[in-house]
Symmetry: D2
Subunit: 141 residues, 4 copies
Amino acid sequence: MVEFSDTDLAGLMHFANFFRFVESAEHAFFRSLGLRVHTADGTAQQGWPRLEVSCQYHRPARFEQTLEICLRVEEVRTSSLRYGFWILAEGEKPRSALATGSFTIVHVALDTVSHTIRKAPIPAAVHAKLVRLAAPPPAST
Amino acid sequence: MVEFSDTDLAGLMHFANFFRFVESAEHAFFRSLGLRVHTADGTAQQGWPRLEVSCQYHRPARFEQTLEICLRVEEVRTSSLRYGFWILAEGEKPRSALATGSFTIVHVALDTVSHTIRKAPIPAAVHAKLVRLAAPPPAST
Amino acid sequence: MVEFSDTDLAGLMHFANFFRFVESAEHAFFRSLGLRVHTADGTAQQGWPRLEVSCQYHRPARFEQTLEICLRVEEVRTSSLRYGFWILAEGEKPRSALATGSFTIVHVALDTVSHTIRKAPIPAAVHAKLVRLAAPPPAST
Amino acid sequence: MVEFSDTDLAGLMHFANFFRFVESAEHAFFRSLGLRVHTADGTAQQGWPRLEVSCQYHRPARFEQTLEICLRVEEVRTSSLRYGFWILAEGEKPRSALATGSFTIVHVALDTVSHTIRKAPIPAAVHAKLVRLAAPPPAST
């Protein structure tokens, strides 16, 4: 639901908050696969920072509107993943989405002592789950 | 400056906050031209919502790091404007930007009673100022 | 649920975000009474800004933790309302709350043309509903 | 400066964002003393989480308004610190503050492996600096 603190003085959800909704849906998607989006073992962390994000805004989202976020895995590579998203007003069809876009995220190992971050291959079991879910982008959108 | 509240548990600036920094730079740019990004005359407002935004993340931004945001007007149309941005660590060169991307924003008239939003041509004087500042995208980046 | 974007580099929910959770619970409470926390009729708006808020932090909230927010109406005056809140980890008891505090909010009429804001008595029907729900603060906490 | 993303649909700065401004001022204050508000040595971190915060809202803050944040150290204990704050419109006097309040913060050692957080005495040199700056609360406010 779009909360009061998500809006701005134009009376609509602030554009940057759409990204928070998409990220929350992504993390719920990871949980639905039995995965954690961020793990820490001492100073060694694994996570999924963003490489590239984009969003097209079609219609505004308003205070107290319930939103549905649809994700579709579009490409799975050795250490990165691209998915498309559709932000819908509750009960609406994807073709009338309020906003659409895509995220490319990358699996990394991050050391909190040395402050190094490097790409890390997606573990095989996770990779297999993601590939099974991947759908090609639609022929025309 | 990257504030504590801009970071997340990975110890770095949260990706959505880069957009807030860019928007603040855009509004400072409008002020530098003697323009307001949002005006209200009773229930009739004029503003510049986002049509499309994208960001590529090259390196993380860290707590207490001072950032420089560079904007370049790339295309001015009847009612919309596209600009590119470069987010730099203070004193760094654009080619080592932490993040790059572009925003397409649209000039609209918004009525807060009827909740209608419609594209509105950029006023001629503003349009002329923006065109004068527009630079073509670089040949190679 | 505590989302990734709610955390900060200490690995815990940022303290200011507790207030967003409380405000969301307040608005859900208003909806449960059939009320809207913010209404607009042309340039005349009615709303409930905050007069005073406080929060005591007892234990941190962590990423992906589900929180329960309990509110108790403690005092209803002509145009203001004070309520206490308890932020609990799911399934925990109020006496082991992660955070507690109170909000005093005031009913106002706000004119978006003249930019005036003035206290406005709580409408009688709303006032009656709130009074019926009010509980005195506990004898000892 | 109050940015667009700091406002909400009432057209004013959202109440929770006042806390972000105060926290930023606190961290600038720590830097002015040559101190860091958060340090990490491997998995052992030291930081200053909030024990208690409060804010009284007197007048709204508006988009593009420049704010001044004044802090006054009011009490320094073995491991905690309480300071008062005044949020002023640029050039205004403290007695016409937009908002006032206080923060009690506590020095802690935090282990990111074991997820333990415990109070830690403020280092003697820091304690001495803070005590020297402490002022008693004003006789009447």
